[in-house]
């Protein structure tokens, strides 16, 4: 038997005060980021914010990643190859911001300038610049909000039935904590919020929830053993310790996948993979330091209701 994590008896619950401070900071950061995003003060991706769309063609063939890195100084740029244009080597370049057609033209000239510097022997001819609206419409946004709300309610109800009400609430709080924390870190790092980041947040919510439920399951099992001895905190603590091996292995395997996406997945997937990586780390942290301690605190405040 090959083990990385031996039998442990770390007092995770004892460290909950420190964990709460860390979590509150992460939460505050997340809420701040959320407010900034809602009020339009965060860098939104082209998906959400729209931007300028410049179409043009090069005299000679150009590698798309070379073009992409040439345009990297403009903060968010999406480059697409156009295959049916009347000239070969045609591209559509989308760049964030530029709410009007005239601003888009200014951006178009800027891009022409950058490309002229970068490809001095390969002229880029622009054939049009206009402003485009967001591709993620209001409908999709409100749909997504409903979907998230309903799924959270569903989870609270399910965990309430299978465990108890406070666990349902605590698991939801922990999930929210993870999503907001990653949102906050993304904001600090100045990542653009696009559809891929939203997908990453949904993925990490699913991941974090699984982690939490596994710990709860062990707590539920251990509470039966510890029943009557009033050692609620001990039951929780040893549960976390017992599943630590599993937590570590699952996190490691998931990390391996997202890290290979991060390092080898190319520029387009980098933000997505970065958000997922943070999600795995934060999700693991929260199942140990957020979801279970909330239940402990809740229990401590209502000792009479302990079964």
């Amino acid at each position: 038997m090959f083990r990385i994590i031996p039998d442990t008896n770390i007092n995770f619950i004892g460290a909950r005060k420190i964990a709460f401070v860390v979590s509150l900071c992460l939460l505050a950061l997340g809420i701040f980021a959320f407010v900034m995003i809602s009020t339009g003060n965060a860098p939104m991706g082209i998906d959400f914010a729209g931007g300028a769309k410049i179409q043009g063609y090069f005299e000679n063939p150009v590698q798309i990643d070379e073009l992409r890195s040439a345009l990297a100084p403009l903060d968010e740029v999406k480059v697409t190859e156009v295959t049916d244009f009347e000239f070969p080597n045609a591209f559509i370049i989308k760049s964030r911001g530029a709410a009007t057609d005239s601003l888009a033209k200014v951006r178009g000239r800027e891009i022409e300038g950058i490309l002229a510097d970068h490809f001095p022997d390969n002229a880029f001819t622009s054939v049009g610049a206009q402003s485009i609206g967001p591709s993620v419409g209001e409908q999709l946004r409100s749909d997504a909000r409903w979907a998230i709300l309903i799924s959270l309610l569903g989870i609270i109800v399910y965990i309430w039935i299978r465990f108890d009400f406070r666990s349902g609430v605590a698991a939801t709080v922990a999930t929210f904590h993870d999503v907001l924390a990653v949102l906050g870190i993304c904001y600090i790092l100045g990542l653009d919020f696009d559809l891929l980041i939203v997908t990453a947040l949904l993925t990490l919510a699913g991941y974090s929830l699984t982690d939490t439920v596994v710990v709860y399951d062990r707590i539920r099992e251990n509470l039966r053993k510890f029943r009557g001895r009033g050692e609620f905190v001990n039951a929780v603590n040893s549960s976390i310790n017992e599943v630590l091996g599993r937590t570590f292995n699952t996190s490691m395997t998931t990390l391996v996948v997202v890290l290979s996406l991060l390092f080898f997945g190319g520029e387009v997937l980098r933000n997505f993979a970065l958000a997922l990586t943070m999600g795995v780390v934060v999700g693991t942290y929260s199942s140990i330091f957020v979801a279970s301690p909330i239940v402990v605190e809740w229990e401590a405040r209502r000792p009479k209701r302990f079964k």
């Binding site: 090959f2 697409t80 419409g137 749909d143 965990i159 949904l202 699913g206 292995n249 290979s260």
Partner: protein
């Protein structure tokens, strides 16, 4: 043990079904670029079939057609504007459904624009045809020949004067460059020869009363003084029953631009009476190995409209050419009977968006059904397009194309390659990690994981789902969940072994105790996936679909496939875990 045999049988059946479902996908994805090109040359239909049956990739992964349309609101009255864009979107959506593209997106942008994305579709012209046409179908009668000739006479005079005036203008400004281009001279010679036939048709016995055409018969139709009439090469609509002619002509393809220019002259527009209109045929026809256009003079009054057509099907006319057949709805049949009954032996033109799709003589009173013949050059695809637009109905307002592009994958082909290799590397590392950490048991879990991915792809192929980047994220999460299930079980078995239980007891207890945790964590994920699927839309839905099936399959592989392998190991003294 018989329960287990059933499960084994079920697994075998599922694997066979999975191979069948994903056969096309495996074939297509394992092809190299050259093999694909070879197949394209050898049998393009086969490649298309493969592409349609394989898992489709979204616009972000494989590209397709991206068009932006603007609904021309200015051509609508105040009252009609309100939901014009939504109605146009509904019509466009049902037309695209006729194309058979999986997961097309039709979205509104701003107040007047509609974005249409057709992933994996590359026939831009057909897409433009289908999406862009108004598809207003009208039945119209033709003007009589006598009036047509009067009008053509007047037009000839006006155009002749215009041409002279223009020649003088040009003479003033470019006096030095007087030599006409040689090709031009040749061309007019050819036309002059052709026009002799026209004269015979126009002047010949088909006419009831001879009209004064203002020129001497012996000299033919003079191209200078009769610029317009001389370009009408032939009268196409002469009824063999009563010998009467109707104003349906053919025009050489090369003459069409010039004639259109003349028709648009203000002085020509002025003399065309308001109750008639000139209309071109929808597509060129072949006459004497030459591409020509049909050209008609119609009465402007709309006699019957396309909304009464139903049960539209494609058939073949007597020459084996495609035609579109229709039934007339009960509400329309009286009107159609009246129209056809009153105009027997006269031609009836079926006009789609101002162009004549077909014009044929009415032989008898028609009540219930009819057909639209489409001419000698029409293809089956033309007929199919007509069928689709007639089924879907007409757009509430004309649209214009603001953008029309065949785009590469929006994430870029390079990044998809990188993403693919990175995912494969990640998967490989996971397989190694689990194999090293849990030894032989880990290898069994790896097998389960591979089964999991295989089943997931099969289901997506069977559902005809479209794989987008969020969908791939769903697969990554599935890998995590699948590994997690096995890790939970193995850690449990190890715990049991450490307490000194036998291999058999440890396997049983491990599976049994881990089940609750796995079940609960899977169900919570299913709840998330379900809510995202029901209430979400677009890419979020795609994510939910992969997640939902991934979780379901993970439960199956962990508790049926890997477990049955573990059951075989129960008799061992020690367990490699």
């Amino acid at each position: 043990m018989s329960g287990q045999k059933w499960l084994l049988l079920l697994t075998v059946v599922l694997i066979i079904l999975g191979v069948i479902a994903s056969w096309n996908t495996i074939n297509l994805w394992t092809m190299t670029e050259e093999e694909r090109e070879q197949l394209q040359e050898r049998d393009p239909g086969e490649l298309l079939r493969l592409q349609q049956k394989a898992i489709r990739l979204g616009l972000d992964l494989q590209g397709g057609i991206h068009v932006v349309l603007r609904v021309k609101m200015e051509e609508l009255g105040e009252g009609e504007r309100e939901d014009a864009v939504s109605r146009a979107m509904a019509v466009i959506r049902s037309r695209i459904d006729g194309l058979g593209v999986a997961e097309p997106t039709v979205q509104k942008q701003g107040n007047q624009r509609i974005i249409v994305d057709l992933p994996g579709y590359t026939d831009a012209n057909r897409a433009e045809d289908l999406i862009g046409q108004m598809a207003v179908l009208e039945f119209k009668l033709l003007e009589n020949m006598a009036n047509a000739q009067l009008l053509l006479n007047k037009m000839d005079t006006v155009i002749y004067e215009h041409e002279i005036a223009q020649a003088e203008d040009e003479g003033d400004t470019t006096a030095t460059d007087e030599t006409p281009a040689p090709e031009q001279a040749e061309e007019s010679e050819v036309t002059a020869v052709d026009t002799v036939d026209v004269l015979a048709e126009l002047m010949g016995d088909t006419l009831d009363d001879s009209l004064d055409f203002g020129f001497d018969e012996d000299f033919g139709v003079d191209e200078d003084t009769r610029p317009f009439t001389s370009r009408l090469l032939e009268v196409t609509l002469t009824n063999s029953r009563d010998g009467k002619s109707h104003p349906g002509f053919i025009v050489a393809k090369s003459d069409r631009p010039k004639m259109e220019r003349w028709l648009n002259l203000p002085q020509v527009q002025e003399i065309i009476p308001v109750d008639v209109q000139f209309s071109w045929g929808t597509r060129p026809v072949i006459r004497n190995n030459m591409e020509v256009y049909e050209f008609y003079l119609l009465k402007r009054k709309v006699q019957f409209v396309g909304k009464y057509l139903q049960q539209i099907t494609i058939g073949q006319d007597q020459y084996g050419k495609p035609e579109v057949r229709f039934q007339i709805s009960p509400e329309g049949s009286n009107r159609f009977a009246q129209l056809t009954g009153a105009n027997i032996n006269k031609p009836l033109a079926i006009v789609l968006d101002g162009k004549v799709e077909s014009a044929a003589f009415i032989n008898s009173k028609i009540r219930g059904s009819g057909s639209i013949t489409m001419g000698s050059t029409a293809t089956l695809e033309d007929a199919r397009n007509l069928e689709i637009v007639l089924e879907a109905g007409s757009l509430p307002a004309p649209v214009e194309f603001i953008e029309k592009n065949i785009v590469g994958a929006s994430l870029g082909a390079d990044s998809i390659h990188k993403g693919f290799y990175a995912s494969a590397l990640g998967l490989l590392l996971v397989l190694c990690y689990i194999g090293v950490y849990y030894r032989l048991s880990g290898v069994i879990a790896d097998l389960g994981l591979l089964f999991n991915i295989f089943f997931l792809l099969s289901i997506m192929a069977a559902l005809g789902a479209t794989l987008t980047m969020p969908g791939i994220a769903g697969i990554i999460l599935t890998i995590g969940i699948s590994v997690d299930a096995n890790v939970l079980i193995f850690e449990r078995i190890r715990e049991e072994l450490r307490t000194g239980k036998t291999v058999r007891a440890s396997i049983d207890a491990g599976y049994q105790r881990a089940f609750v945790a796995i079940f609960d964590s899977h169900v919570t994920t299913l709840i998330t996936a379900g809510a995202l699927f029901i209430f979400g839309s677009g890419p979020i839905k795609g994510f939910a679909v992969t997640l939902f099936w991934g979780v379901t399959i993970s439960l199956y592989t962990a508790y049926v496939i890997t477990r049955s392998i573990f059951d075989l190991r129960k008799g061992y003294k020690t367990l490699s875990i």
